[in-house]
Amino acid sequence: MNSLLTSAVAGLSAGGAYAILGVCAIFTYRLVAVVNFTGAAIGATGTFVMVALYESGVPLALAVPVGIVAGALAALAVGLVMATWFSGAAASTKAAVTAALLVGIIAVGLRLTGGQHPHNFPDLIPGSAFRLAGVEVTWAAVVTIAISVLFTFITEQFLARTQTGLELRALSQRPMAAELIGIRVKLLALSVWAVMGAVTAFALMVIAPQRAPDFMSLSLLVVPALAAALIGAFASFRAALAGGMAIGIIEGLASGLDTFSQYRGAIPFLVILAVLMWSQRGARFDEAR
């Protein structure tokens, strides 16, 4: 029992990161109407910029902010492509474009980071925060969860209570009508991308030491991120937050069970499948009748 709890708690850190990535996925979907497959790859870009600087002797206190800025810039580049050429495209086209960009970013990222070449990922937040039922909870887990909760809360409040939040909501609902009342549509859209890039980069920096430290593995964290976003129906930040946490904990539990540990990577896929089937239950029921 204790080993299961240990495994579940070990999943908290990943769960926090999935939650942040999931909330970011909803952030970009709700505000710029893009199902973004590049989210984790953008975060990985920032993370590897930080690692490259750290490995070449730059102090962590400088490497981390530079990595965050790099994540924001990478996201801006993707956002610029989307806002310039695909702002009026259908949602499926936009999703396909970001999937293509993901492939491109992974190819370039693997080339620049030396493929499977091992890197020295520093523990940004080392140490144990407290013990929960005899199991150590790390600061990394606490901080990722705190960031995901804080990001969700701040995003909700910002959208509900500020003029820029109102403008972002208008932009997400009717981009052309928003432009026709004078909202700076492109600037706002690019800001959304930049914030997403910065937050994602920091989240991946925190959890990278616990993951396979190569560019592709980090980029493919988009799968649990989208699974979390799906749990939130690409609309609810809070549901995505809870969903991301749940996926992380289930993954942790699975890694503690010999039978399932080799298949724990499939859990986000199973979650996506289950959510999609659940969302179609009405149509299936109607057909059956």
Partner: protein, 238 residues
Amino acid sequence: MTELTIKQLVVARGGIPVVRGIDLTVRSGEISVVLGSNGAGKTTSLEGISGIIPAKGAILLDGEDISGQAAGIRARRGLRHVEQGRTVFPEMTTEENLKVALAPGASLDEAYGLFPELVQRRDIKSAMLSGGEQQMLVIARALVGRPKVILIDEMSSGLAPVIVSRLMEAVRKLADGGMAVLLVEQFANLALGVGNRAYVLRRGAVVYNGGCEALLKDPARLHHLYLGDVADSVAMHA
């Protein structure tokens, strides 16, 4: 005194010219009405003027050519386009729809003064408003942006006559308050009743440019302007 002058406006859709070199003028305190049958190029003209779709020709706002500017910049310079289809922000309340467009120094009271009907609906999601209320909201939303010129496209579409009359009255108030209004409308008589100058488009060209009153008093001429050769042909066979 604001003046929007359009010279030789050409707008194409899918490479095919829909608007073929039209000239229009709208002045402060006036309503210029654009009439024409379906496919005449009325909506396309407005979309070209506001920058939704690319257009050739000169678009002079107070003498300055804004034709090279993006739609958002034209809007911020005082050109507001109320699209057809009642484009409210559906997940936002009535009040949020207004607040998001509020210009510095403008007040929500201006919107509620024009359409007191909206006061009681201020906290309702705009998707839940009736068609007439949504049309009021998009006009009020343009108003609180304190534009110099407002372009209104087919505001009567799908609405009851009593609501359309209410909207026409409100548009007249906007013009009387000093705004320049370019009104595209299918219901010719209602629009001519509130307008100052009329333009009739046929196949992308202006076939009438003159006072509204003259056209309102001569329905046969209006009918002929709408249908052109078809009207002559029908008359010959009658």
